[in-house]
Symmetry: C2
Subunit: 345 residues, 2 copies
DNA sequence: CTGTTAGCGCGTTCAC
DNA sequence: GTGAACGCGCTAACAG
């Protein structure tokens, strides 16, 4: 017996125990073990006890691959981010993860580097894994990516930008409206030369939308849309620092800068500290994403409250709702935003 | 024909095309399609062409679930983090993801909230998915978790803290040595009353190790280990702010504070700015994790360079090396650290 | 409440 | 270079 056990350990090393063996130990059929695992109430408590005992004794972990193949259902959701490292997505991903975990789903994550080609590959890979749902933190896709998703019929949620014609479902806020609102806010505070800084807009639909929002804001204010007020720069602190210096050297009459992404505004603020320029006395600074940091720097930075966590939570709930057959769910959810006036403007 | 196609679309909705159908279209057997997919060189170029054409025409995506079940191999790695939202892990996760993606593997991520019970559940869930490898950003595990991993025989890497008896493999730096090195560094700079602030050490092995390192550093300096110099606080900017105020109110002779985690040091610096206290004139501030932010604040903050990205890269490479049969790999990799002296001390 | 039969869609193993 | 038979471990759909 111990001999046989030893041999098994060798021959079946790493392959684990099968459901059939649990069934034998508990004196029932494999089907009953399957039921005991997925719906304990559907078997007698006597049977349940013996099955659970056998599972404990053997350290059995059921093979979801086989289960999924047979049932044609998986509980894995695929998430594609423009960049995992980007802290902006952290709150959203955390919220998604929390909702999924509680409801028994798993999360596969990859990143596309904002390149539609990579996104396409990632989608194909996830469909190969037969994910039960897809979440795309981007709204620009290749034709093949769209075809793949449509023909697979996988529930899909786009987040990160509100789109009027989503592939399937969309949960976000309007980048355009938010950028416009901040621009108007700055104008109403009395700023007359409001510059706009964004990430490269080439392949970044959010950055492009934000610029359009800025321009719409200027128009509403009756201010001139001056190209010298608009600038693209790299992300991160150095990007903000560089933009600040470049803009003010080119035009000293600029009295406010609206940094439309990540920590650029903070990079600019630090540069002002180094130069001893008062903020907002010498120059006003506004940001876009509601990073925790913006609230804590001195002076605190005026920004937009973006519903990051809410986006994750609602996205996951919407996806699971679809998977579990809920009806009457919306296809597009606009979570809105809010201008937060602080000390930097 | 179009009728039949339409019916198929309905009856097989969302289930995709099977390999058998590609085979029929290409006039070969399913086996040949399988080969064409996994090892294109093993079929004639003529056959390959017809198979690829059929795949394009149908939008076929092969079912990895079935493939994995049959081959008993998967290409999914499971990663368990103490918290997804924590930006400290971002660089590590990014590096892991990059290495895996390039080599054709996928990443499942979940978080444990630093609770061993949750980690145990996550491990069981991942083993159920038959992940080919496990990465744990934590080195404290329940007994059952260890048993599960051992009996599954899944390659496992522990990161986040250097451990002498890893479950399997370990890639990290020594929290103890790093904390000690910084403490000694501060002492050599002339500070005589060095306080130490950490996250709650109860269930956080890294925080506990860092404190031991601090105490060892004091001993080496010949300074007294005074309990009033040691404090636990919550994470984040407010935690640092609170610690600064509390410590200096209790003992005005403290001349340096070593914040052993995340952004606490920055929270303290901002509080100094608010109060107009010069740093390091009134109080010196040192940090632990090499966050980008620490380099950019004014003054820049002395900290430890922690090999975050390198940890991810090496971990993934070590895991894949094991999976692909490389021999002579180390079980423990100590990536070291470095004290970075900046303007805050 | 429980068991039986028949796959799920691939890869392995052998034969040709 | 290619194909046929079989099995991976589980669940759907019945029957009892």
């Amino acid at each position: 017996m111990s001999n046989e056990a030893a041999r098994q350990r060798v021959t079946r090393k790493g392959n684990g125990v099968r459901m059939q063996e649990i069934a034998a130990l508990a004196g029932v059929s494999a089907m009953t073990v399957s039921r005991a695992l997925r719906d304990p109430d559907s078997v007698s408590s006597d049977t349940l006890g013996r099955v659970q005992a056998a599972i404990r004794d053997t350290g059995y972990v059921s093979n979801q691959l086989a289960g999924s193949l047979s049932s044609r259902r998986t509980n894995v959701v695929g998430l594609i981010l423009p960049g995992i490292q980007n802290s902006l997505y952290a709150a959203t991903v955390q919220a998604i993860s929390d909702v999924l975990r509680i409801r028994g789903y798993h999360l596969m994550i990859t990143d596309s580097g904002l390149r539609p080609r990579n996104e396409e590959e990632a989608i194909a890979a996830f469909l190969g894994q037969r994910v039960c749902g897809l979440m795309l933190h981007n709204t620009t896709h290749t034709t093949r990516a769209k075809t793949l998703i449509r023909s697979a019929g996988v529930p899909t949620i786009e987040i990160g930008n509100l789109v009027t014609q989503p592939l399937d479902m969309c949960v976000s806020y309007s980048s355009f409206a938010a950028a416009k609102a901040m621009t108007v806010h700055l104008g109403r505070l009395g700023y007359r030369r409001i510059a706009f800084v964004s990430l490269p807009r080439q392949e970044n639909d959010r950055a492009a939308e934000r610029m359009l929002g800025y321009q719409a804001g200027l128009k509403e204010l009756g201010q001139k849309d001056d190209p010298t007020l608009i600038m693209e720069t790299q992300s991160g602190f150095p990007g903000g620092q560089h933009a600040l210096i470049t803009l003010l050297e080119a035009d000293a009459t600029i009295d406010a800068i609206f940094f439309s992404a990540d920590v650029m505004a903070v990079g600019a603020l630090f540069e002002c500290q180094r130069r001893g320029w008062p903020v907002p006395g010498r120059i006003a600074i506004a940001s876009f994403d509601d990073l925790d940091l913006l609230r804590h720097v001195v002076p605190s930075i005026t920004t937009l409250r973006i519903p990051r966590q809410e986006t994750g939570r609602r996205s996951a709930e919407l996806l699971l709702g679809r998977l579990e057959g809920e009806t009457g769910q919306p296809r597009i959810v606009d979570l809105g935003f809010e201008v937060i006036q602080r000390d930097s403007t």
